[in-house]
Symmetry: C2
Subunit: 305 residues, 2 copies
């Protein structure tokens, strides 16, 4: 076992121009773990309600995801519903019922505590910090956040990310966190806040990885059809972190290959692109590691000069 | 001599968050030719008024641009003024005075007629077509267009591009021309209209090159500061076409190296990025081929994995 993922497991109602689902397995932790599971042994820390379906638990278990940290609490599972605009570049949240997630206190099973890789999905920054402190031997720790924590829990968030190796964030949130409109300068400011690696996700336009001494950029994969972008950013996170965990990447030894970080960005992009091809987590029912490596090779073909 | 560029030479009044200029040399033909001149011998076909300044003519001549086809007509030079939004992603046209450009009839000097490379800047499609017919021995012909011709002169535009090898177009115009929102499908539809190569420019997000059998994508160069994006798309065109002309690229022989097209996209991106670093064409007063090749190498470093 190697990568621990903390975050939300949810049910989503999603409507896109291609159709709708009334109740589909979702949540950041779900997407991250499913995506990472193609690269490394992955375990989750999350909470669901007593309505959580056996088949959804089975989907995770079938990908060998460790569920010792999946707490089942009294009440309903986190529920989110949203509708996408015609061009898919906007989405409107119709409903957010936190349910059992409102009281989520991540509980690390003893066998998770010594694990080397940790990804802190988008939850309350103080909770992220608490988990990170419990896993103080981890040698590669990163996470995600969102506009709400940046604006309303800024101090807690800054205290949390101070001890992260990497931050994954989208472009508008990077600008908001750094209070700087230029993405390059925003990234440099974020590097002053703790992480030595910042990955900025730009949706269909790809991603960039910033470190003090290096920049890496990749365009987005051009999909025939985007069925449902829900979870694409989380799948990016799972591909990025999962790949590095699978390579036993150690950011702290000072002797790593920076190209591994670049390849991790490509695997992140690959996983984000697959996620969009079907509704919710459906693509993961059939996706194989071979599909993933083929798309990785496509990225190379499409970008080499 | 090898590349002929047809289009507008203008004076622009530009305001961006970084400052303003009341009367700066501009026009698509100007930017394209200045950019292409770093790669190949370039000559222009355009019209200016009797107010055209000697120093502006000298700027072009100093880059060895052939001016035999630069007609001087009675009246004023085309004038455009615009103001950019705070984030530079939008611009508002304040004024467009076509002046002598309203009656522009491209006249090819005899020594241009047999040249092998032709770029048709964004002008009335029937005029583009007329020039292309006069240069029927050219072995690599392409051009640009804009939303106005796509919506109001669609038939003329379709008749013009039918005999082009390549079309350079921005993403929203590609969608409009193809009547298709998905960029990949839009490009395939445009390939049905004549050109065997379509390059879609995406501003700060980079560019994509489509052919029936190949796709190439590059992210945008991350600039410290965008001073003025005016002309960046035209400089892309100049870098793309100029590089290929300089390599004596021959799309019709059936035995070309597709990687040359990819490298041309990179040189286009490089030239577009330099253009934004100063107001108007100012960057071209100091830019060297060495600067260009260094940035080309940076692109390789920033995108290799």
């Amino acid at each position: 076992m190697s990568l621990v993922v903390v975050g939300s497991v949810a049910y989503d109602a999603i409507e896109t121009p291609h159709g709708k689902r009334d109740r589909a397995l979702g949540g950041a932790c779900t997407y991250i773990a499913l995506s990472a599971s193609y690269f490394t042994k992955t375990s989750i820390v999350a909470v669901v309600g007593d309505d959580f379906a056996e088949e959804d638990r089975a989907l995770l278990a079938n990908r060998s995801i460790g569920l010792e940290g999946l707490e089942q609490a009294r009440g309903k599972t986190f529920f989110w519903s949203g509708v996408y605009s015609e061009d898919m570049n906007d989405r409107k949240t119709l409903r957010t019922d936190l349910n059992v997630f409102a009281e989520f206190q991540p509980k690390l099973p003893p066998l998770y505590v010594g694990q080397p890789y940790l990804f802190l999905g988008n939850i309350q920054p103080a909770l992220q910090r608490g988990v990170r402190e419990q896993m103080n031997q981890a040698r590669f720790v990163g996470g995600d956040t969102m506009n709400y924590w940046i604006s309303d829990y800024r101090d807690e968030l800054l205290a949390a990310i101070r001890n992260w190796d990497f931050l994954l964030i989208n472009d508008s949130e990077a600008r908001m966190l750094a209070k700087e409109n230029n993405l390059g300068r925003a990234a440099q400011k974020i590097l002053d806040l703790g992480p030595n690696t910042v990955v900025i996700k730009r949706g269909e336009y790809g991603a960039m990885l910033f470190r003090r001494d290096t920049l890496f950029m990749v365009p987005g994969y051009l999909l025939e059809d985007v069925f449902d972008p829900t979870g694409a950013g989380d799948c990016f996170a799972g591909g990025f972190t999962g790949y590095l965990a699978g390579r036993e990447f150690d950011l702290r030894n000072g002797h790593f290959d920076v190209h591994e970080l670049h390849r991790a960005v490509i695997y992140g992009s690959v996983m984000g692109s697959f996620c969009c091809e079907q509704f919710g987590v459906e693509r993961f029912r059939t996706l194989t590691r071979k599909d993933i490596d083929q798309r990785f090779d496509e990225f190379r073909r499409f970008t080499a000069f």
